[in-house]
């Protein structure tokens, strides 16, 4: 068991995200567009916006993860990469987890890094914007892991887009709840620890489910 296929999977996933004309910028555009609609849909009062701003950012992050994950494994099924992975003596679960994490680095992490800017746009008080990025990053990893399970399951289906949302969104609930709490009570509280625990849990459980689902898609 060598690390080379893992590094290869990471690199190819990252390259894939950039291929086909700024693929990694699309979730960013989606994220910005969602935030842009908010002041017009709920009213532009600073008090309203600052109250709902952190929650809107959670929502935009969760939806952006679904947008990016839709094609992750489907492309591998279609171009035959999955069949090659099955042949390796490397665990399919580890490869799937690496690939999902690569997608998080390319399209989740930039969103997290930009949350302070969007938070300022949404009139969120500028005290803890940078520490809040830690909460968004932890929650984002858990979104991508559960979304990855749904995407791996939907890879065997011809049109899996909406199916991914239906399967994944219930699993986003713990991260959203603890994440929103962590931003309310600040990073000194216990909620951030629970958020980290739920992210660790997803890192432990989701790869196994992804591996089983991909083996199914390869058959």
């Amino acid at each position: 068991m060598s690390a080379a296929p893992l590094w290869q999977a990471f690199r190819s996933a990252a390259a894939e995200a950039w291929a086909g004309g700024a693929g990694a910028l699309l979730p960013l555009g989606f994220f910005a567009g969602t935030c842009l609609l908010v002041p017009f849909s709920v009213g532009s009062k600073a008090a309203t916006l600052s109250a709902i701003g952190p929650g809107i950012l959670w929502l935009a992050l969760a939806l952006a993860s679904l947008v990016t994950l839709e094609r992750v494994f489907q492309a591998d099924v279609q171009d035959g990469a999955l069949d090659l992975w099955v042949q390796l003596d490397q665990s399919l679960s580890v490869i799937a987890a690496i690939k999902t994490l690569a997608h998080w680095c390319v399209s989740g992490l930039p969103l997290v890094l930009l949350t302070p800017i969007f938070a300022i746009m949404l009139q969120v008080p500028a005290d803890d914007l940078v520490p809040a990025m830690l909460a968004y990053a932890l929650g984002g990893v858990s979104f991508f892991m559960w979304g990855g399970v749904a995407a791996a399951l939907a890879a065997s289906v011809a049109r899996g887009g909406l199916l991914i949302a239906l399967l994944a969104l219930p699993f986003y609930l713990p991260a959203i709840i603890f994440g929103a709490l962590a931003l309310n009570e600040g990073l000194g509280g216990t909620a951030i620890l629970f958020l980290a625990a739920s992210t660790l849990f997803s890192l432990g459980v989701a790869p196994a489910a992804m591996g089983a689902a991909l083996r199914l898609a390869a058959d």
Partner: protein, 243 residues
Amino acid sequence: MISYLANPKRFMSMSSWAIPVGYGLGVLLFAWSLYRGLFVVPADAAQGGDIMRAMFIHVPSAWLCMGLYAALAVSSFVWFIWRHELADVAARAIAPIGAGYTALCLATGSIWGKPTWGTWWLWDDARMMSVLVLLFLFMGYIALRAAMENRQKAARAGAIVAMVGVVNVPIIRFSVDIWTSLHQGPSVLRADGPAMADVYLYPLLIGFLGQALIVAGLVMALMRAEIYRQRAQVLLTRRLQEA
């Protein structure tokens, strides 16, 4: 007993008498509990007066929807590990009934909640949220199976979702519990439980037993239908090959 019944032939001969017995006994017990609940039991003013009689539908449906999800997960697990075809037939039969009971539980809960607590729905409540998530899991399971063209693939994908769901449901429940305790939401659903008087408790338990028997009969009937469908398909292919 389960492994004894894993043989489809034995299952077919057992279920041919177990279904009518389940239906008959279930309807009798359920009817008795409804009669007691609707006409005999005194209304409890603290639970909203006559509306508390919704309990005799609501509480059994809540227990059943959780029990049916557990049954779905167990049969998915059995199918995934040992590939017992009957386990998949059972999982397939359980899902729509479970989704129906989950919807019934949410609907009766809302109808009971509106006059009693003044609201149809409360996002802070852990039980409501976990039952809602259960409904999403059932719907996701059904949608995923429906989207797969191959039966074997549908069974494998469904089993993965059901098993991931069963490890995640306690986490979701726990997360909402923490949320509630921090938000100090009204602890509305605490009034039931062991503090219930016998006059309510017995009709409730008997009614639950009756509904559980009806559900068992329904599941077995759906399983038989699926087995007959598969047999018909085999006969059809055989005939086409002979022709």
